[in-house]
């Protein structure tokens, strides 16, 4: 399946673009997507934390991804 991943903050800088389109096996779990991205962009491993959001909610590593999901990579937040 094709996934679009929105990127923000330092993750956007590391990847060098605000949106990533990748091809992944159907029903890929979040943790495998993260591992795939960390392999492709090793600087992501240097972050204090890296989460995945699916449809505006933080996702567990075991959550399965679907093609229509709104996916985003969430580096350490610093609001307030």
């Amino acid at each position: 399946m094709n996934l679009k991943i929105a990127l923000f903050g330092i993750a956007k800088e590391i990847v060098g673009q605000p949106m990533l389109e990748i091809t992944a096996p159907a029903d890929q779990p979040v943790q495998e997507l993260l591992e795939q991205l960390r392999t492709q962009y090793p600087a992501l491993r240097g972050l204090s934390s890296l989460a995945v959001a699916v449809n505006n909610e933080y996702a567990e590593g075991s959550q399965l991804l679907h093609e229509r999901d709104e996916i985003a990579l969430i580096p350490p937040v610093a609001g307030g």
């Binding site: 204090s48 909610e57 985003a72 610093a78």
Partner: protein, 139 residues
Amino acid sequence: MITIDLTDQPIDVAATLELVQSDGAGAVNTFIGTVRNKSTGRPVVRLEYEAYDSMALHQLRKVADQAKEQWPMLEKVAVIHRKGTLQIGDVAVVVAVSTPHRAESFAACQYIIDTLKQVVTIWKKEFYEDGDVWVAAHP
């Protein structure tokens, strides 16, 4: 009543306070976060906040809803966060809550700002004379 906003315009603090006024609430607690002129001892010249808007608004509302669950006597809540470029002294965030009695107003307001900082998808880049840093990005 819960008001949530994420804006690239200057925050009107007085208007935000009016949002939580209520004849049944004797106590209003407000937290205002402003841009400091230094960060861990290093002079800051400006800030930039970037937001994942839809998720930030969704998470802000969840935080406010959780506060309302934990303190059912909460009358009104307003949380306004700024994004874009901010100068020293600019208001970055305002949290205002009203309750019948004061202890709950302090507890609920502090819960909201503490939780906001943990979960809301907003990122802060600090600019110094000689460089910039994404705050909290690295260990």
